[in-house]
């Protein structure tokens, strides 16, 4: 494998060469020095971008007009490259195109470190990166697409018009999706058959002398598969170098934070404190709690106890919906006393941790209610636990029974189970929302249990007035979300410079390709 020559300081020229193209396969890791603050900022911003990619992919058809417009906007806001024809124009304020591409390059590799660790994380990361790549690739002109292919050693040449004409019948008869018009309008590429095995296996393509002839509309699939395969292999390799990375005290907390970070509205700033009374909780749990919290509440009521994982997940959720510290203490205490715990023991053992959740003990203020991603990905429940995401962690049979018990319709249940089978846990929860609130299509994409609660209360608050207002509160929520995230970022950066000396250190030792 060839590496660029190591240089302590990179000249501006080599940047121009390295980032000559808007789109890349991320084949070579960055080899320059990078400040620690930049390290975290870049990574957090890319994570935001990928979260947007995920949310948009759930709410809109990929590459539809709304999808691309919104993704354009987000890319612009976060200073990532987003238009293939944007030159390095100095006239624009803000970072130059080269700087954006550099950020894109570096942030991708940082996130590799954070997301290579488990199967779930890898799958998520690869999925979003593939979608992001697909979106950016769609902006390239035909010529740029060919350039990209050549630059990345993908031996796909477009065949000449004459050859297309000569092969027209064969091409049309090889694929259901190819018509005479397709042949006329689109470029056809010659691809070695080893790179298109799925098409060969099912005989969905014209094969001659070891090459398949693929219309432009299908070449993207091949390229995306290539991208996906490369990234998958790279992540496996990256995982091997993790021990070296984790031994670095500066990076380890950052990377852990990244892989579990929920970027966006985090419900850490409490609204409506005290608006909810304890007597309402039982009925609220049936009406406005997401299934995970409903399940936890029921378990708490039945057993008069919850283990640590459940206490954290449910307790922080309750904080998020507006319970005050005093209310929380009363709530947990009264329930636990009904069980095996006496008042004394509660005050000694459990009250402390509840106060901790509210930031009244210890130093850390990081106890924000768990996002869906956190619930789904970390700390899977074991025997005796009731936390986690029921769509992810419950056996489908048991999930079905539970839904039946909660009076979800049979057709609704099978829809939910289908989504669970496809591993679309948050979509399954959205479906649960729709079924329990009797709505056709919800307007938000679900990624936080507290979001579920807020949206549910809106719907139940009911009426046309509320509906029209729903857009504005959502937007202001997003803004405040961004605001709080920005505040968090600033705090994190401040922390970084407070606790750690701002040293420049070479990153290449952390990005060892085998």
């Amino acid at each position: 494998m060839q590496f660029m020559s190591r240089q302590k300081k990179l000249l501006p020229n080599s940047h121009t060469e390295l980032y000559g193209q808007c789109l890349q396969f991320y084949g070579q890791p960055p080899l320059e020095n990078i400040a620690l603050s930049e390290f975290e900022t870049f990574a957090v911003e890319r994570l935001k971008l990928l979260k947007t990619v995920e949310n948009l992919g759930v709410s809109y058809v990929k590459l539809s007009e709304q999808y691309t417009k919104k993704l354009d906007q987000e890319s612009k806001n976060l200073n990532f490259p987003y238009r293939a024809d944007a030159d390095d124009r100095k006239s624009q304020s803000g970072p130059s195109e080269i700087e954006k591409r550099r950020k894109d390059h570096i942030s991708h590799f940082i996130l590799r470190l954070a997301y290579c660790q488990t199967e779930d994380l890898r799958r998520w990361f690869i999925q979003q990166e593939v979608d992001l790549f697909r979106y950016r690739f769609s902006y390239l002109s035909s010529k740029q697409k060919l350039e990209f292919l050549h630059k990345n050693n993908l031996q796909y040449d477009a065949i000449s018009v004459e050859e297309k004409k000569a092969l027209q019948d064969k091409l049309v008869n090889s694929s259901y999706a190819v018509s005479g018009i397709t042949v006329e309008d689109q470029d056809f590429y010659k691809v070695p058959f080893q790179d298109a095995l799925d098409l060969v296996r099912t005989r969905k393509v014209y094969l001659k002398a070891g090459y398949v002839y693929i219309p432009h509309q299908d070449i993207v699939t091949i390229i995306l598969n290539d991208f996906r395969t490369r990234l998958s292999k790279a992540l496996a390799l990256t995982a091997r170098s993790l021990p070296a990375v984790h031994s670095d005290e500066r990076l380890q907390p950052l990377l852990n934070h990244l892989s579990h970070a929920y970027v966006g509205q985090d419900y850490s700033i409490q609204k409506n404190v005290g608006k909810i009374s304890l007597e309402q909780i039982d009925s609220l749990s049936g009406k406005s709690f997401p299934l995970c919290m409903r399940q936890l509440h029921q378990a708490l009521r039945e057993n008069h106890h919850l283990r640590h994982g459940g206490r954290m997940q449910y307790g922080l959720f309750l904080k998020g919906i507006g319970l005050s510290l005093e209310q929380a203490l009363q709530f947990w205490r009264s329930e636990f006393i009904r069980g095996k715990v006496d008042a004394d023991k509660f005050d000694k053992a459990y009250a402390y941790s509840i106060r901790h959740m509210f930031g009244k003990e210890g130093k850390r203020t990081d106890y924000t209610p768990y996002s869906c991603m956190k619930v789904i990905l970390s700390n899977p429940p074991s025997q005796g636990d009731h936390h986690g995401c029921p769509f992810r962690h419950s056996d489908p049979e048991l999930l079905k029974q539970k839904l039946q018990f909660y009076k979800v319709s049979p057709s609704g249940i099978s829809q939910i189970l289908e989504l669970v089978k496809g591993m679309h846990y948050q979509l399954a929860c959205q479906k649960y929302f729709e079924l329990t609130h009797n709505i056709e299509d919800i307007t938000f994409s679900l990624n936080h249990p507290n979001q579920y609660f807020v949206e549910s209360q809106k719907v139940l608050g009911g009426g046309k007035d509320i509906k029209r207002e729903m857009d504005t509160p959502q937007r202001s929520q997003e803004n405040s979300g961004r605001g709080s995230a920005a505040a968090r970022e600033a705090a994190a950066a401040a922390n970084a410079s407070q606790h750690l000396a701002e040293m420049t250190e070479e990153l290449d030792s952390f990005f060892q390709d085998a």
Partner: protein, 429 residues
């Protein structure tokens, strides 16, 4: 051509003779060494031997042609299989750290077995073959050979008679040898049209559009169908066969079946009956969206090659070696010259007893040969070698070895190119 009667009991006597004087070792080594382009290619190849009393030994490997010869002459294997090229010498695989001993490359192979056609041939079954059903092999070779060359771009194909009831294909191109498991299985599936086992009645279903590969294959089938299926197999003769054929007409075109059955009352000639079937199909193709290609489907079900995907998929799969003896029939697994494919007669393939016998018989014109050869080769090889070369040439095996030589010559041209390219890169002169 007279075939000496072969008796399996005589193998222990015949095999030593075969391996000492007839087996074409130098051509065999020339093949498996592949021009020496890749290091240790021959040395890391796995062979397996089946010895007397069904003793089976795997992971045999050899460093030189000489070593191969000596071992085979010592062990006198009843059967020889060729496996993959491994990461290390197969005969040392136990010394290698577990997990690191891996199959790396092998020819892409296909195995066509006549037993897989038992549901569509009436003349024989199981291990039996006859000249009537042998046409199925001819059809299979024509279709697959064309596809592997024209569609996949492979050039160096060796077709071999298995010795009893089928044929093998060895695709020896470098690209073929380097194919992954996924790629091999994709190639095999591309070439597969017959789906379904015992439980399935209708094994071929065609939908629009008909892929060029299927069209080409149909063209081959149609050439052989009238004589093979209508006459020799008489599929539209006896009522039983007719019913079987008509069971392949789709159910929703039931009307067609009834019509045909009625028409068949009046029409007894197979060719005419088939014409009636085709006419019905043509009518349907004008109107129906589904099931309208039933006459093509019938032809394919009766004639299209049936290959075992599992044989082709595995990089480490062992397959019977060319020039190996078939213990039950005594026939040598000889390469098939495609130029003479239509006249290839499996019953004319020499048996080991025949060629051993021929060794002792003086052949016409041998004196002529002797003098020519002395002129050419006297200074190059020693007497024993010379005798050996003359030995197989005295037998019916000669023409098959000659064909094998031609096959190797064609491949050698590509090796030469490779060696030149490599030495250029290393700047060797």
């Amino acid at each position: 051509m007279p075939s000496s009667d072969y008796d399996p009991a005589s193998l222990p006597d015949l095999l030593p003779l075969y391996y000492r004087r007839l087996f074409p070792f130098s051509q065999y080594y020339r093949w498996l060494n592949y021009g020496g382009v890749q290091k240790n290619y021959f040395q890391n190849r796995e062979f397996s031997f089946t010895l007397k009393d069904d003793i089976y030994v795997r992971y045999q490997s050899f460093t030189t042609q000489n070593e191969l010869e000596k071992e085979m002459q010592k062990m006198n294997p009843y059967k020889i299989d060729i496996g993959a090229i491994y990461s290390h010498r197969p005969n040392q695989h136990n010394t290698v750290k577990s997990g690191t001993f891996q199959a790396l490359e092998k020819e892409l192979v296909f195995d066509i077995d006549m037993t897989d056609y038992d549901d569509v041939r009436s003349c024989c079954s199981a291990a039996d073959i006859c000249c009537k059903c042998w046409t199925l092999m001819t059809i299979a070779i024509r279709i697959l050979d064309r596809a592997l060359r024209e569609d996949f771009g492979f050039q160096h194909l060796l077709w071999v008679y298995s010795g009893r009831r089928g044929v093998h294909c060895w695709v020896c191109d470098e690209a073929a040898r380097k194919l992954s498991v996924a790629a091999r299985s994709a190639v095999a599936e591309y070439l597969s049209l017959i789906k379904g086992g015992e439980e399935t009645v209708k094994k071929v279903v065609l939908t629009d559009p008909i892929h060029p590969f299927i069209r080409e294959s149909l063209a081959v089938v149609e050439r052989y169908f009238p004589r093979y299926a209508l006459q020799e197999q008489d599929i539209l003769g006896r009522k039983e066969s007719v019913d079987k054929v008509l069971s392949l007409v789709p159910e929703d075109i039931l009307f067609t079946v009834k019509e045909l059955q009625q028409d068949f009352q009046n029409e007894k000639k197979p060719e005419s009956r088939w014409k009636l079937v085709r006419d019905q199909a043509t009518k349907k193709q004008a109107t129906a969206k589904k099931g309208q290609y039933f006459e093509k489907e019938i032809m394919l079900q009766y004639c299209y090659p049936r290959l075992d995907v599992n044989v082709s998929k595995g990089v480490n799969h062992l397959l019977k070696s060319p020039f190996s003896v078939h213990p039950k029939t005594g026939r040598i697994s000889v390469p098939i010259n495609l130029k003479e494919l239509d006249v290839f007669d499996p019953f004319a393939v020499p048996t080991i007893s025949l060629i051993c016998e021929e060794l002792d018989r003086p052949r016409a014109g041998e004196d002529e040969e002797k003098s020519e050869e002395s002129k050419d080769k006297e200074n190059e090889k020693d007497a024993a070698e010379r005798r050996k070369i003359r030995d197989y040439k005295r037998t019916t095996l000669a023409k098959y070895v000659k064909y094998f030589d031609q096959f190797l010559d064609a491949m050698a041209r590509s090796w030469k190119g490779e060696l030149l390219r490599k030495s250029d890169l290393q700047k060797e002169f």
